[in-house]
């Protein structure tokens, strides 16, 4: 702490909205000017960005600092209590201690729901699902039969777990459905955003590894296997049967073809399309995805293609002049 350590802080707010009793955050040099002009009572500042004359907490990682501070300033709302009389829990389902279910939630027979799990209003859990403890399903989530969801998983509103994969055998132009008889496994500590779709395995399982975080509107195809601790940003699509290692990042709107092996600690840039296997630690970009440095150089050259073309035309003219000179 630099400055007045006794200052009272009641909330956290963005630099341009914060007042005298708010803490604000400076994690990126582009917000320096904004931080200087901010009325925030105190700042949470990344090492190296310290501001003169400010009451501030200097930390190596302001986002980690925020993650530690916020639960104290904003204690999580006491969890919803009990099962709403308007929820429909099958007598054939087993509920752990302290399970909460909002109005119009449905749990079908054969399900097991762990202690302290919260099922939002209008959520639907089909037959024979297993859901762990301390898990939260926000409203209007749909879970197809036989899904297995771990402990401390969060699934945001509107998401669909276990829908049929896109599997057809085409015979004389008619697409005959291949029955989808597998299921989905979501391991512990996974968070899944809003309106995500995760297809069940065609046969066998689609699996989301422990601690992986999935953003909104992502599509995960049938039999995809995602390792632990991956980050899958919004609107990404992973095609069927592709396997992804641990700690891999897909940035927004990227995609991967089916049946690939993508390693651990891979980074796929936003908007990119992976069509080939990738080794551990790869960093790729583009459609199709190339090594990131190569893509960057090729992309820079792409932007100069009009100049390159006129340079080429000029070369041709000069060469012709030389050729004429030689024949004379």
């Amino acid at each position: 702490v630099t400055g007045d350590a006794g200052r009272t802080i009641r909330g956290v707010a963005p630099l341009d909205e914060a007042g005298a009793s708010d803490l604000s955050i400076l994690a990126h040099p582009r917000y320096r000017k904004m931080a200087r002009e901010s009325s925030a009572g105190a700042l949470l500042v990344k090492e190296g960005f310290e501001m003169e004359g400010r009451d501030q907490i200097v930390v190596a990682d302001p986002h980690a600092g925020l993650a530690a501070i916020l639960p104290r300033l904003y204690p999580p709302r006491a969890p919803q209590c009990g099962v709403s009389p308007d929820a429909r829990i099958s007598p054939g389902a087993r509920l752990g201690a302290g399970v909460a279910a909002g109005p119009f939630a449905v749990v079908e027979s054969g399900c097991t729901i762990g202690a302290g799990t919260i099922l939002g209003a209008g959520s639907y859990i089909a037959e024979d699902c297993e859901i762990g403890g301390g898990t939260v399903l926000f409203p209007n989530v749909t879970v197809y039969e036989r899904s297995r969801i771990g402990d401390r998983v969060t699934i945001h509103a509107g998401t669909v777990i276990g829908s049929d994969g896109f599997g057809y055998a085409t015979q004389d132009g008619v697409h005959v459905k291949v029955p989808q008889v597998g299921a989905v496994v979501i391991e512990d500590d996974v968070e899944i955003g809003a309106s995500v779709t995760i297809d069940r395995g065609s046969i066998g399982m689609t699996r989301i590894g422990r601690g992986t975080k999935i953003d909104n509107l992502v599509q995960i195809g049938h039999n995809v296997q995602i390792g632990a601790g991956c980050l899958i940003v919004a609107q990404v699509g992973i095609s069927g049967s592709t396997r992804i290692g641990a700690g891999t990042i897909f940035a927004g709107q990227a995609g991967a073809a089916g049946h690939l092996r993508i390693g651990s600690r891979v980074t796929v840039a936003s908007k990119s399309a992976v069509y080939d296997d990738l080794e551990d630690g790869s960093f790729v970009a583009g459609i199709p995805a190339l090594d990131h440095r190569r893509w960057k150089r090729a992309q820079a050259a792409f932007a100069r293609l009009p100049e390159l073309q006129s340079q080429l035309r000029d070369l041709v003219a000069r060469l012709e002049a030389l050729e004429k000179g030689r024949t004379r």
Copy 2:
């Protein structure tokens, strides 16, 4: 009006489906042939596209004409009446006059709903939301706590307002959630399509400006600020903390990185990716987005790259011939 102004028109139909009592529309030259062959009783025609021998209304903007005519031919259905006995409205919520709520809609405590607002079946409004008057939520919409939605807003089915942003602090490969304690503000006269996701602010607000229209399956990240009168077409993604001015257009499947300043009256072409700040009035395309004219020329050159390569090979051969000639 050209032709018979006394003609009776009962409906509006596409050129190839319209009959003698239908009005149809000709707004684009590519439909001229279809218009000639159409059985439509009358045409609404853009100036300059007048058809000979037709009963027609000639206007500068046929879509504006249509917007004026349609409510007369298709008076909007009398709004749904009252609160369904199957809706669950918390006694701690305040409802204005004439609020309607479909079966299985849920309004939690602390909410205020303005006069004449309609909440579709199965929609869920979490604690402490403020929704204005004359607003329509279609079925199965989910609104997280403390969202503020203005007057005359329309939100289509399946959309999620206020889900948590994708914010984690990664420590030794473990992604620790940064609590998302902000909310969403949707100003008056906004329309939001189906299955859209708008994340709450991490701290502070995510804001959609007055009169902005958002199409289906769009993702808006935490703390994004969109100005008034923007058009965000289907499947666009805007990453966290990016600010967009007024009257800006993102065409379909485009995206923007986080923490950017994108000006007013900007046009981002479909499929493009904005990675840098953009000045007012910019028109960009490509991944990464370039000035639109430059992108168009570079893209034309890209398509000719195979020829450019063989041209280059030819140049090398001719140059070598010259070089040999000189050394002889």
Copy 3:
């Protein structure tokens, strides 16, 4: 059959999960090693990939084989019975024999639902819809008024049929809504994935042709016409009024602009953007979409652009040397 035709098989499982009483599948050469090491009791093998010393069924198309075998090993669950007392079916709706509706499903007045159709929990069918027989709507599907859905149609959870198209007339910077008065027609034997959005016609119909299959998170704009037997893979977007022939394939995350004519048996590669009409049988890729072979060659050249640039610099230097030589 090669090997022991009397072997008892109880289930189907992926190569690396299958045991002695499981059938597994080998359809692609990349899984040969896995097949060799698999503990599967028997294999369903594509002609040409036969494995030595294995009990196997050799077929021309293993996916078609699977489609035939799976219903015997996994008989479909007896369909849900009857209408839940917690569903709300308008007295003004007509239901065929054996219609099932889950808890909190809503059917408004004027609807007709065909025999044996299943409406999932929390699904909502607005006024005056016609739904055929043998159709399945999974939970939390929303169908807007006057939609027409055929026989044996499957619609997965969270999907929205008939939302308003993105139609505005912009006057002095204000976007005035063009009322959307058309509807959606979904023909027989169509399957639609999870969280898909299909907009109603502005005037007239949006139409999905018989036997077409649509994957998750796809956006279909107003007045789009898709022919029979098409495959529309996940996260594709088709803009308003575009017409697509029969048997056409859009791969994942591709898109098409509005008002286009796209022929039959066309293939659009993943991530591509179609901005122009396409003839029958076209195969295109890229943004904008080019002939697939041309795109592939141009894309290969793109990856070598840095080398091409240095080659060009070298040429310039050599040419300058020659030019100097001549002037001396």
